[in-house]
Symmetry: C2
Subunit: 330 residues, 2 copies
């Protein structure tokens, strides 16, 4: 039975957790966006900072696209296409239809309204503004209270080594529908990238740092690959916890389960926790995976199990609530 | 009474005028596009070359837009918004709606399908292709038989000197709705621009050169301001004729009548013919302006009067037919 989290309860929780001065979330796309939406229900949104992966960014048809930043922004603005989890609700695809007539590449589908974001971003970047500046501009224009920061203003490109060769992230993910065998993943440019303004400061001042239920290899991996961010996390006194993106042996969305299999990792919350060993003090797993809780405990993480599938607004809030309760105890 | 030009008659005319090896048209936007459509009905389209004004081009929201080339291409492809004369028929404006939400500049309205053209053009230009190469690509993709050439692959910018200062063309034309007093018009870059590949060759080999019913100052002016084109026209043995864009003291579309008034020119076909003195051997005027025919004659131009308002497909063809008949006699 799902319990609807009424406004009164949400407010009560929001006050309950206000013991935390601020919270930082490391975020990928859909899973992270939904979690952040839940977090905004139980904790003051204006005290949350999302540090978002930009390793999936692409230049496509002359525009610069930051898929994860857009997913997070659209979701928190309440304009996301709820079914798909990305794009803008009720969008049309007429520009794409005409591009098809021109035999242009149309494997990455962009809605007409969505194009506006990419045009604006591209125009700003060309005028010398940074990715952080325009991310801030767009979230303000859309009335989003959560602070959204790209992980870096420099280019980091997630590259997928497959039996078909080295692929760009979106080529692997969208164009080839993540069907290739993944042999390795690298983050081009990450080792020389610096964190975007505010990233290190927000980690330093926050008492809670949450690794969202995103792909640890493709979404959180690029963020952790930036030395300045890794160092800040190593030094922080904040409580770092994570939420599993694997439930019952499968990824909730996307290719994580197959990638873990290809790379010889255990496809379970334990497999994910092993990737985060030494970093996390707490880990949230699904009720169906209780069996591996003790082994994750052995990695030095306190574990809580709950319902992690965010199939409703209340479920999102409940997952955020359970995560913050775990944070209180670690 | 308007006579519908049946397919049989069109074919007969097409054969009748095939005495001309090829025809070149200097073209602006809507008026030129409609005339070219008429010409395609009475003469083999694949033997027509349109040299199109690019002085109105603009960089807007990060994309490069060539309004006149698009109007000509869309019209000849049969996909133009017939009522407006520009844009794509049945287009939506969702990208614009989202841009409005972002408080971006939206005074230049672009449809969602139309955006595809600008994205493709911009992407190609950024990859080092020329304006002529991508104009050719787009017209081929849209199945247009008339050869379309930009006047130049270099940038020429029509600038409007007004009491409010020096304005870019589209700023004057679209943003400020051509309400400013025009003091002067200049074509920035024209004196050092070279004609696009094929422009001079097409003028040299054609027996008929038609100045379309476009604005002589804002649309044909930039083309004639390019030295290589002016020289080719001065040297050609081809018959050069023009069609009035002024009928009964008013411009059929756009600001020509007011501009002529501001500049102290007579707002009549005679005023237009005076601007083309020394260049044209023939001039097509409307039946309502017969009174000025003899004065245009005195400028050294043979004159024919006909119905010049292209308010139907048949009217376009009839105007083209009458123009070619005049060409036969000069």
């Amino acid at each position: 039975m799902r319990v609807y989290l009424g406004a009164g309860l949400a407010q009560a929780l929001s006050q309950a957790f206000s013991m935390f001065r601020s919270i930082v979330c490391l975020a990928g796309g859909v899973g992270a966006a939904r979690f952040l939406d839940g977090l905004s229900q139980v904790y003051p949104a204006e005290k949350v900072t999302a540090i978002v992966n930009t390793g999936d960014d692409l230049d496509y048809l002359g525009v610069h696209i930051s898929p994860d930043i857009d997913i997070v922004t659209y979701t928190l603005a309440g304009i996301v296409d709820k079914e798909k989890g990305y794009g803008i609700d009720g969008d049309t695809y007429n520009c794409m239809a005409q591009l098809e007539r021109y035999s242009a590449e149309t494997w990455f589908r962009i809605g007409d309204r969505d194009f506006a974001t990419h045009l604006l971003r591209t125009a700003f970047l060309q005028q010398g503004f940074s990715q952080s500046e325009l991310t801030e501009k767009i979230r303000m224009l859309l009335g989003v209270k959560v602070k959204i920061l790209p992980m870096s203003d420099q280019m980091v490109a997630t590259k997928i080594k497959t039996s078909a060769g080295l692929l760009d992230f979106q080529e692997y993910f969208v164009k080839r529908k993540f069907e290739d065998n993944v042999q390795d993943v690298s983050y081009e440019g990450a080792s020389i990238a610096t964190p975007a303004p505010g990233v290190v400061e927000s980690i330093e001042k926050s008492e809670v740092i949450i690794l969202c239920p995103s792909n640890p290899i493709l979404s959180i991996g690029p963020i952790l690959a930036i030395p300045g961010i890794r160092n800040a996390l190593a030094k922080t006194k904040g409580r770092i916890l994570g939420i599993t993106p694997i439930v019952g042996g499968r990824s909730i969305k996307g290719p994580l389960d197959r990638i873990m299999r290809h790379l010889g990792l255990e496809v379970s919350p334990l497999g994910v926790a092993q990737l985060y060993r030494g970093l996390l003090r707490g880990f949230v797993i699904d009720n169906v995976d209780k069996a591996v809780a003790s082994k994750i405990n052995d990695l030095g993480m306190k574990v809580v199990s709950t319902q992690t599938i965010m199939d409703s607004s209340a479920a999102r809030a409940r997952l955020a609530e359970d995560s913050l309760k775990l944070a209180e105890t670690i």
